[in-house]
């Protein structure tokens, strides 16, 4: 069975085994459970301390915001949407890679997803949690944020279903719920493994409850796999719909630079782009620290880089198309907006956006670069920054100079804008550190299915290997 042989360098990409290092069912369980079962490394406490400190910054900033109001932010008369909305769109966008990996790649039978899907789905959940903070606090009077939900009340008040901001509430909360269910369903067999391996009574009890009676019987697998398939089917449209709805926050308005039909696909491509960049960033760190190079191979990373190249180029196409349409439409306001974007007071941000999002991914045309871990790590960081600037350019440059020149102003953030954003990383990393410490960060049950042992069949003597042709 050549798939498990060590020397695979001669094989084409499509035939390389997904896992390296002669993995077996037992070794996979041992490696992944081992991360959680071994004594907590000091570095984890150090990292958690740092994350919790940032989390306190977030809580402090929100507390001050609730007490004092949105006046503590850098918002001014034309720019009524600042970092809060930029951060919201950025965080939601990041989540999309997780759903794409877990749902779309599952339906497309992309078996390489098994090594990274758990991790990416967790990232989705935590990114969406961070995202949800911002629209909730940007309303100023946080205690009445429940008005966005259709709750019967004594005010006779009902949400305005014609407003895209309301669509957002539904899109993002649906997204979070579906992602959570999908993630948890996927976790059940692994939680049962943890339960069975648990040494202490408390662990047995906790994992016993969490694994909801999973025994791994044939009938359970039948129902489980069907449920997983259905959830993948439910999540698939969300990959496209959530960020499309987010884009309508802008596209439904009449502001030049926002009011364009390209926004939904452009936002979705950008979301997947930034999400994959974040997955690459986090995966590289995790596989290095926990020694998972055999589970998450360079092959996996290379495949993600190809998606980054594809979506990055789509984003680049959208940037170009916006300029083309501004010219082609003959609309002078549209033309002004785009020329002003590139060469006006926010030109610096525009060129950061273009160079980080369009030029940097072009490195991945070269196999040497897209398989080099240091190169892709740095590139993914650039893309994360670039995609934040994309939202900054969209939100701020269109608002700061709209129809009435008398209203024009320059927007810059205050220390509280920065503290809230930086603080949201505290929430993200706190959740992430807890996740990698207490839950299996790679799906043991799923990753076993890509081993040759999981797919036994007859191979005629003398043929090259165990692959379907």
């Amino acid at each position: 069975m050549s798939s498990t042989a060590q020397d695979v360098s001669g094989l084409p990409d499509s035939e390389k085994p997904l896992l390296t290092g002669n993995q077996t069912f037992a070794s996979i369980t041992a490696t992944i459970s081992g991360i959680v079962e071994r004594k907590t490394p000091p570095i984890w406490y150090l990292a958690l301390g740092a994350a919790l400190s940032l989390l306190m910054v977030l809580f402090g900033s929100i507390g001050w915001l609730v007490y004092e109001g949105t006046g503590i932010w850098g918002l001014n008369n034309p720019v009524g949407w600042g970092w809060a909305i930029i951060n919201f769109v950025w965080w939601v966008g990041i989540g999309h890679a997780g759903t794409l990996i877990s749902a779309i790649l599952f339906l497309l039978r992309q078996r390489w997803r098994t090594s990274i899907n758990r991790f990416a789905e967790a990232m989705t959940l935590f990114a969406v949690s961070c995202a949800l903070i911002f629209p909730a606090i940007h309303v100023g009077r946080v205690w009445v944020v429940y008005w966005t939900f259709p709750v019967p009340n004594q005010m006779g008040m009902w949400p305005n279903f014609r407003s895209p901001l309301l669509w957002d509430v539904f899109a993002v909360s649906t997204y979070f719920t579906a992602s959570l269910l999908f993630w948890y369903t996927g976790l059940i067999p692994d939680l049962a493994t943890f339960r069975d391996r648990a040494k202490t009574k408390i662990k047995k009890f906790v994992f016993g409850i969490l694994s909801v009676g999973w025994r791994g019987g044939n009938r359970q697998w039948k129902h489980y796999e069907l449920a997983y398939l259905i959830l993948a089917g439910i999540s698939t449209p969300l990959v496209l719909s959530v960020h499309s709805v987010v884009s309508t926050d802008f596209a439904v308005s009449i502001l030049p630079g926002w009011h364009t039909t390209i926004f939904p696909p452009y936002f979705v491509a950008g979301a997947i782009f930034s999400g994959f960049a974040m997955v690459v960033t986090l995966t590289i760190i995790a596989r290095k620290i926990f020694g998972l190079e055999n589970m998450i191979t360079v092959n996996h990373l290379e495949k993600m880089n190809k998606i980054i190249l594809l979506t990055g180029s789509m984003v680049g196409y959208a940037y170009g198309m916006e300029f083309f349409i501004a010219w082609y439409s003959g609309n002078i306001y549209e033309q002004f907006t785009f020329i002003n974007r590139a060469f006006g007071q926010y030109g610096w941000a525009y060129w950061i956006m273009v160079s980080y999002n369009v030029l940097v991914p072009q490195l991945f045309w070269f196999k040497k670069l897209r398989t080099s871990v240091p190169v892709m790590f740095v590139a993914s960081l650039f893309i994360n920054v670039g995609m934040w600037f994309e939202r900054f350019v969209i939100v701020v440059s269109s608002l700061a100079q709209d129809f009435l020149p008398a209203n024009w102003d320059y927007y810059s953030p205050t220390i509280w804008d920065v503290a809230t954003f930086v603080g949201s990383f505290g929430l993200f990393f706190t959740l992430f550190l807890l996740f990698i410490r207490f839950l299996p960060m790679i799906s043991m049950a799923e990753v076993k299915t890509v081993l040759p042992e999981a797919d036994p069949h007859y191979v005629a003597p003398g043929t090259k290997g165990g692959h379907h042709e």
């Binding site: 004594q154 006779g156 069975d196 009890f205």
Partner: protein
């Protein structure tokens, strides 16, 4: 391997689900009833500094509301009368009354009496008494039969949905303009037809959008 959970725990999910439904219903019901202005606001009856009786003045003596609240037809605010209005009569009627001591003090010191406000609308809700009166909405529609109250209390919730109920269906509350201060007025049989005519004639179009009241 030994069982982690005893057998009775098999029923726990069912009980938990049932419990969640019951608790949910109780919470919703609790807020529905006890959180409503019908519970929290209606019946508010603070003690006033002077034991003024609307029943005595408006019912027994038959004074018109507008003798004291004299701006109500002209201004958004239905004024609380100044002490001078009281003294129009009380310089001659019961000039030595113990109960009116505070009124006489207020008059002598030129310091207003600190009446306690009962009907409170939030500052962000714009309300205009004169507009409502001109449309033909009676005092009693919002304030109840004040002429029967020894001490005034709130009879309506003054919630937003309560305002909107009437703004959406004003027919029930539109009366002839000379019946506005009549506390005993009841709608005649042809009210619906009459109200439709008046809505046309008086050009009544109560605002139903946010900015109608939240300006």
């Amino acid at each position: 391997m030994a069982q982690i959970f005893p057998e009775w725990t098999n029923k726990l999910p069912t009980y938990a689900a049932l419990g969640a439904v019951v608790i949910g219903a109780v919470v919703v019901g609790f807020i529905w009833y006890y959180g409503s202005p019908w519970y929290t606001d209606v019946g508010y009856r603070p003690a006033q500094p002077v034991p003024y009786s609307h029943k005595l003045h408006a019912d027994d003596l038959g004074m018109d509301c507008r003798y004291c609240h004299n701006f109500v037809e002209e201004s958004p605010h239905a004024n609380i009368p100044p002490t001078q209005t009281c003294m129009n009569c009380h310089t001659l009627i019961l000039p030595e009354s113990e109960k009116l001591l505070l009124v006489r003090e207020s008059f002598a010191n030129k310091q207003p009496i600190e009446w306690v406000r009962i009907h409170k609308l939030p500052d962000y809700a714009y309300f205009d008494h004169s507009a409502h009166l001109r449309a033909g909405v009676g005092c009693a529609d919002c304030h109840g039969n004040v002429a029967k109250m020894e001490v005034v209390s709130q009879t309506q919730p003054l919630s937003m949905s309560w305002c909107l109920d009437c703004h959406r269906n004003p027919e029930k509350s539109i009366r002839p303009l000379d019946q506005i201060t009549n506390m005993e007025w009841t709608a005649p049989d042809n009210q619906a037809e009459y109200a439709r005519r008046m809505i046309e004639e008086r050009n009544i179009d109560p605002p139903k959008d946010c900015s109608g009241c939240h300006r």
